[in-house]
Amino acid sequence: MAFWLGEQRQPDEDASRERFARLVLPHLDAAYNLARWLAADEDAARDIVQETYLRAFRFRDGLRGDDARPWLLAIVRNTFFSWRKEAKRTALSHEEYDDDLHGNPSEAAESLFQRPVSPESALLAQAERARIQACLEKLPLAFREVIVLRDLEDLAYKEIARVLDIPAGTVMSRLSRGRKLLGKYLLEGEKEA
């Protein structure tokens, strides 16, 4: 009887499935949040997350250690890029993942951040939800993703480096440029209003 049970239950398979459910499923919100911010579309985000979990499950042996979040988010990102390639082929999406296309935000924003007086900090603090949302949404993808990973997902630079597969120093500079550009968008809106 015991022998029979052992044969049937496939302990390795069970353990691996259980480990996956325990370590990876809890990061569903993180996966969806990133997919949603990258794709800027609910349906696409859902598809990307489902595909992400299929891929993650297939490659679950590649997960080392107990912190699955950076690993999973890297898969979300890859899945997003394949989705976008597909969408582009069918000409549905136009956004470019290319910093140069959007100019170098640091120069324009630099002067803003060096002004000695700071009524802007008061304005930034009051920037209401909808505008933050809109400004973050129109931020170029390379900056948007790094801000989402840091300020919404609360990942350490080291973890972000893992997700994006870039050096930690690049995370720092990209985050810095992204926040400057976001600050510029927010203040521009404020002045127009």
Binding site: M1, W4, E7, Q8, D14, R17, F20, A21, R22, L23, L25, P26, L28, D29, Y32, N33, R36, W37, A45, R46, V49, Q50, Y53, F57, D66, D67, R69, E110, F113, Q114, R115, P116, V117, S118, E120, S121, A122, L124, A125, Q126, A127, E128, R129, I132, Q133, L136, I147, V148, D151, L152, D154, Y157, M172, S173, L175, S176, R179, L182, G183, L186
Partner: protein, 250 residues
């Protein structure tokens, strides 16, 4: 340190990602340079606004169910497995299966009280997330939340202030588990909600901590002499255990 270098490191400084010597150097410069100090304040304001106002998109319940189903265990293929066995063992195997099957049916038909409760709290937790009705009394003050339960329940559940441990109190809510009105005390971990369900421990016997994973949520259940507790969340299991050890410590 000069302005140029300070501004280059400013984000990492605000994010507490610099090594101590660099952080000290930045701090020293900020103390003596009004322009950089201003830049730091603007950056901190932006960062705070982002963190409190930018939307964290939580996975819709339907997606959660779909993903959980995706990786759920497929039904065992009995016939296929049987086919691989030698014919001599097959008869014995069938006999064993017949006996086993009836035992399994009996066990499945009568889930333990623990399993029922686990199921019920996960259902209740997902329902509250879907309804966006996280709390009935929103408050981070234990002295507001605890009295709120009095008069609504015939017991007074323990409510703790664990903000310092990284689990700020969000509030409380009355919920139903297995047809019984229970207290749900809600804590937060980053953007994740943690429901701690509490009801009187009828038997009065202490039950050790038990961990379950269900539909993508981690469930930790235990009892002390007075109360039975179930903590449910989609937060990391390690972090949920940390909260539980804080709650259990008194």
């Amino acid at each position: 340190m000069r302005c140029e270098e300070t501004l280059r490191l400013l984000d990492a400084y605000v994010d507490a990602e610099l090594d101590p010597s660099q952080a000290l150097a930045v701090e020293a410069h900020l103390g003596e340079c009004a322009a950089c100090h201003g830049a730091r304040q603007r950056l901190a304001a932006l960062r705070a606004a982002l963190r409190s106002e930018a939307r964290y998109h939580r996975a819709p319940a339907a997606l959660r169910a779909a993903v959980a189903a995706q990786i759920a265990q497929p039904a065992p293929r009995w016939t296929e497995r049987l086919g691989r066995l030698q014919w001599v063992t097959r008869a014995a195997a069938y006999a064993a299966v017949a006996g086993l099957a009836s035992a399994i049916t009996l066990q499945l038909a009568v889930p333990s009280a623990q399993e029922r409760a686990t199921d019920a709290v996960v259902t209740s937790h997902t329902r509250s997330l879907m309804a966006q009705q996280i709390v009935d009394v929103p408050s981070s003050d234990q002295h507001t939340v605890k009295p709120w339960f009095n008069g609504k329940l015939d017991f007074s559940p323990p409510v703790k202030d664990l903000a310092a441990k990284g689990f700020p109190l969000i509030g409380g809510r009355i919920d139903y588990v297995d047809g019984q009105a229970v207290a749900a005390v809600v804590y937060q971990r980053r953007r994740h909600y943690i429901d701690v369900y509490i009801w009187p421990n009828q038997r009065g016997t202490v039950a050790p901590l038990r961990e379950d994973a269900k539909r993508g949520f981690t469930v930790l259940g235990w009892s002390d002499r007075e109360f039975t507790y179930f903590a449910v969340s989609d937060v990391d299991a390690t972090e949920l255990r940390q909260l539980v050890s804080e709650l259990a410590a008194s």
